[in-house]
Subunit: 293 residues, 2 copies
């Protein structure tokens, strides 16, 4: 089969054998926002027409390719959902003599009725199911929009999104805090100080101003301010999740996962890092549920 992880800014394709082994992989900065005039079939052919010509098996895609800005808008599946429920929501697209399947995103509602959504992360979670313990567990996928999902009996029960990464980028680029920041690698000591600060009373909007106030008093070096800010934001996310039982399973970009692991451990929480190739395995699992043609 051919597994395609097609997001906003990047395109990743994998050719798999019948045992889910990756035979070949390709990637390009050809996210859906970089595809001209909605010519997704042309874009796909430009990357893997040789695989398609060789009839390498069914094509299954997930990510923002199934959004309103993508190839076709595939309606969200609803929580609770496992591989079967998500696969049932897949939509087929075709061009010439060829066709491909696009996975739906997933939606949930919290007790207040407020909706939440993901697109792509559900496939990663499906791909990581066999690494999770039986019973209930928490999976966190850090990112621009971090996702926290509660999984039980191979189903995603519910989840919540936090705009942590986007707010960090905005504050750094456009706020009064950004003006005092110089670039540099994340400083672990200041990052952890931010994580701890976020556990204090006062609220995020107050703790953010503390970055500036500490700078004014020369109690926070400019080259550490971004690390402290990052700690405050990730620490606030962890405080908001509350007292989730058991370890937090981290999934996704290795550098972000390392940062979240550090934050969790500094709060005496247990972090378990899952492999970062879950998207491919999730797409393989979804392909097992395709209607037999």
């Amino acid at each position: 089969m051919l597994a395609i992880d097609w997001g906003t800014s990047s395109f990743r394709a994998y050719r798999l054998d019948a045992d889910a082994r990756v035979l070949e992989k390709r990637s390009a900065p050809l996210g859906i926002l970089n595809v001209q005039q909605g010519k997704f079939a042309d874009a796909l052919e430009s990357q893997i027409s040789d695989w398609l010509n060789a009839d390498a098996g069914p094509v299954v895609m997930s990510g923002m390719i199934g959004s309103r800005q993508g190839w076709v808008e595939v309606p969200y599946a609803s929580c609770p959902a496992g591989a079967k429920e998500i696969a049932t929501g897949m939509r087929e697209v075709s061009w010439g003599q060829r066709s491909a399947w696009i996975a739906p995103g997933l939606s949930t509602r919290d007790p207040s009725g407020t909706p939440d959504v993901m697109r792509g992360e559900e496939t990663q979670i499906i791909g990581a199911l066999d690494r999770l313990p039986t019973g209930s567990s928490w999976v966190c996928l850090p990112g621009t929009h971090s996702k926290w999902a509660e999984v039980r009996d191979a189903k995603i029960l519910s989840f919540a999104t936090h705009m942590t990464g986007e707010v960090f980028a905005l504050m750094k680029a456009h706020s009064i805090l950004g003006r005092m920041m110089s670039d540099g690698p994340t400083d672990p000591t200041w990052f952890e100080a931010g994580v701890r600060r976020a556990q204090d009373a006062g609220g995020l909007l107050h703790h953010l101003f503390g970055v500036r106030a500490r700078g004014l008093f020369s109690e926070l070096p400019n080259e550490r301010a971004a690390s402290y800010l990052s700690g405050i934001l990730i620490g606030d996310e962890l405080a908001s999740i509350g007292n989730t039982q058991g370890p937090v399973h981290l999934l996704g970009d290795p550098s972000l996962v390392a940062l979240y692991r550090r934050a969790l451990e500094s709060l005496a929480r247990v972090a378990v890092v899952l492999d970062s190739d879950a998207a491919v395995r999730g797409l393989f699992t979804l392909a097992q549920h395709l209607p037999r043609s």
Copy 2:
């Protein structure tokens, strides 16, 4: 006397008689960031040289004019502080045969040792002291950086800053939420829905994403999204303040004060709106404590 409220973006001057009555006032978009090459004396003369020539009494200024980017950096006075303590921290600047006094800002530290600062708001609070009840009371000055001060026995005991207004502007201008927002007046129903939403568990970073998710499900009209976002941010600020006893005294820009009053009342809190001319009266009070020459 001449009272000057000189901030980042605006300049306001008042000529007062000995009973604190305003005889004349002038304002200009001549904030400290608009004064070329630090020529503050020239800027002041350009606005009120006739008053200065008429020897209209001592000149007392407050606001960002006393910051590192202003005329001279006046070190922060420390909490707890009343009019006398703040006046003691004033610094004199002179040019030609003339001189003026610049009030210090105010600093505090919370139990964790994290500092906080204000510059200008302390003078507004001093000017509002005679409108506050005896005993302990809370004063809120909404704004780009909202200030919450605890006042007792005519002294500012402590305060906390929230970056509410700045984060609202950033999210509207630069975030994924801003893309779904069209302009319009604040909608009271959606504003209050945001205030209530912010009282739910989940945290601010999660509630922010809810603005997008509700939009995706067509459960939040684009022209109401900014009102809902504003409610979430102000509601989060109110949730973070916690259970302050008694009424909240609101001081500052009338349209923002009206919004905060609405938010407080929707949470069954009592709001008392103070007059918005407190800065002038605060400068008059500080002038009473000038060293006699």
